[in-house]
Amino acid sequence: METGTVPRVDTHPYFEVDEARSREFERVWGAARGILGYLREINNIPIATRYIFASFAFFLVGGSFALLMRTQLAVPQSDFLDPRTYNQLFTMHGTTMMFLFVIPFIEAVANYFLPLMLGTRDLPFPRMTTLALWTYIWGGLFIFTSFLFGEAPEAGWFAYVPLSNREFSPGLGMDFWDIGLSVAEIAAMGAGAELLIAVLRMRAPGQALHRLPIFAWAMIVFAFMIIFAFTPLIVGTLMLELDRKALTSFFVPENGGDPLLWQHLFWFFGHPEVYIMFIPALGMVSQIVPVFTRRPLVGYPLVVMAMIAIGFVSFGLWVHHMFATGLSPTALGFFAAASLLIAIPSGVQIFAWIATIWTGRPVWRTPLLFVVGFILIFVMGGVTGTMVGSVPFDLQVHDSFFVVAHFHYVLIGGVVFPFYAMLYYWMPKVTGRLLSERLGKWQFWLMFVSFNVAFFPMHILGLLGMPRRIYTYEAGLGWETLNLVSTVGAWVFGLSASLIAVNLLWSLKRGKPAGANPWNAGTLEWWEPSPPPNAQFKFIPFVRSRDPLWDQTTLGPLPEEEHEERLIEPLRSAPTRWRGALIVSALDARPIAIVQMPRSTIWPFVMSVGFVTTFAGLLVENLWILGPGLAVIGISIIGWFWPDKDQDAAIEEIGTDPGPGKLPLAIAGPISNGWWAMLVFLLVMATALATFIASYFYLGDGPGWPPVAPPARSATLATFVAVAVAATTYIFARGVRRKTLRARRIGLIATAALALAFLVPAYGAWTELGLRARDSAYASAVVTILGFEWLMAIVLLVLVAGSIAWAFGKPKDPRGDGLALLAELQGYFMTGSWAVVFVVLYLLPRLW
């Protein structure tokens, strides 16, 4: 390939190196050593590498389950697998691919490459990335250990009620699924929140929104979708688990519950989930196509808007999985319209790629082949998607193999092929070695052909009436040949998909050194060496284009950027006593602060062990396991947040006050990443509350619903307390902002007392009901909503308790201000959420 515009060794004076300072900088960012160091490591490069390999291992396991299923279906009346094992395999195949492969793999890739693309040194919360990694691994293994006990889940990856309730799924299988999944999902949400904050706040100066790499845009959409889609799933699995433990009756019809509620909650997650997987893949494709066609992407704004539009519309499609459940025809019409029109933004992107290839000078290397394969297969999946988006057609092929064919064309074509394109494109950056082109091309053609051999016949099988999720079938139905062909294709596909491992091993041994930018790409990740060091971006680059390595002659500052250059001088091959990175404004990427990043620590690993122990205790309902698990979590929270010397050094070196030509240290308030993380947390909590309330309304008027409004004495008292919490929150936050210690201390103590007091009437509101949660769906909904408010008060208590410790221990320390301003957000949220709950549970029934 040709060489880019920015020379490999940038001679701009900005990049002149002070060797001693440079060595110190590398030492500060260096990897932790030894076995304990392996567990303490938090830097994005090694953590993301582990993430990538762990998720790929799950992919191979999930894929092998598919091969076993296809072997069973190769011939009629096969006894290769018994029905129960078959059910377990299809449940775990879907669960593994959806929850343990695709989402973690995307997050792993983003963890690795986003900081490199954005020109930043790490993700905003490296400890959380590490916690997410370990929690995900434990969560995945947790689900798989169910096989060891002969208790693997077998109600499908969708876990429809009543099939998944205690009556039809006795034993621990579904509990493994419920709890393990929740662990993995919480990890995914944490990672999603981190990626969102990374893109919005940690970029190179000048990388304004219109210069963001498309993959970064994709990750913004991805992260928002995760927050809004995964939360209802977690709420749903909580409800299901409570029902299974006979504590509630959300899905028990005889108590006023409704099994269809589960389908709504599941598919409100499940359909956006498809696009959650798909949108990052689109982002990857939009990164790869310009590089191999030697021109910028056609229609950048339209491609970005298409991704955002897909993100929105994907939340209006969930009922198309429920067309056959008896909803009103007009309601089906709303969802059918959205299902069909989502083809427009998808089509916009397809045409943008085709136009880019058409008007460029394509270089047919393996990544581009996989992209073209993706376009062809995905378009076919899209065409069948519009077919099943139409209600009459869907009713004909519902639950048939046609649907299996459709979604595999979408998911393998739309997600797995871009993943392979991405692996061939970015793996040289990870390993520093080029993969074999010849083997890559062989792999592409084998995968492309065998994929169509495996899955195309399923369309016909579906139209011939073969239902999905059957473990065998009778001979003479005309399905034999197509099933056999499909199985042969599946085996070839499975083996050819594994060739990447062979290629990787070959490349590690014999691959040519990749150099920093083997493809002559234009984005920043190709500026750093391959593989990138832990100490990345010793010099923060200045961005003036979407493709800086193509369009700029230097990544150093121009004369008119002298002000920015002066601002970020403390980050020039520095700091050398602690890890520092740049915070920029979200829209224009103007430097606004410096952030101190944590060093290696064991606490994320310890906390993940606490999580898995706690969940194991919940699974077997054993306090001797649950208790130590909770204790480990508690200890690791204290260890995690314990002030360290690096923070002291950063405060001393940078200070928290901005001055002329000087950036402050980001510790407290909207300038800090922690404040933004708190906002995301509250967004998640608001979504959870909205899900509970939507479920309450959905279940309304069923049997067991009270004929009159519930007693409101305790709830009214709780309302007064909640309003008082808002007032005292205002007082202490004002004290923090105006540096008035007295107001701060009084406000905090009063808030703590009120939050504690709130628990009493909130509990009283439950006892006044005179119902156990399991007595009716109504009681289940009310009690869980009240429980949610309890949780909010406890979170506030914890934050305020920490703030009080700072206010009395080290009142001038900015870290105390930071914590208090987080408590402020939580205080207002608690009051606001209780107000909503009061209106919904107590006022509306009186007005209706």
């Binding site: 950048y300 539009a309 519309v313 009103s328 025809p329 709303f334 234009g522 369009d551």
Partner: protein, 147 residues
Amino acid sequence: MVTGARRSADDPERRGGESARPDERRVGAATLLFSFLGPPVLWAIHFNLVYFLNTLFCSGGWGGGDVVVMLTALPFGAASAASGIIAYRNWRELREGRSLRVGLVETGGRSSVLLVMGVAASVLFTLLIVLESFAPIYVPPCAEVGP
């Protein structure tokens, strides 16, 4: 690679400070927000509203739900279309006011790009709002229970 097709952003003849500090006028944050996110947010509200109204009318056994659903197209469709018109007008003004240097490396600054996205969003989501509102023309509003 692309150097033949496009001049470097740092090329003094071309640059003139443009790429580091785009000289295009900035559009106000509220206008940008309405143009950029208005249509999808309007659609999301409308979608939930029509679903709620349909369920309400059907469960209450009241007539006229189809007309109410169709009427929702007016305010929401108009607002979504208006955001597109505002975005287009602002974008056109930016384009007219821009110096000739702009657009060689980047087709516009932040405002331009977000406004183009806004126009596209307006077209798509207005269409969606109208199509969904008129679903009752083609199908009965409530499920019919068979004998």
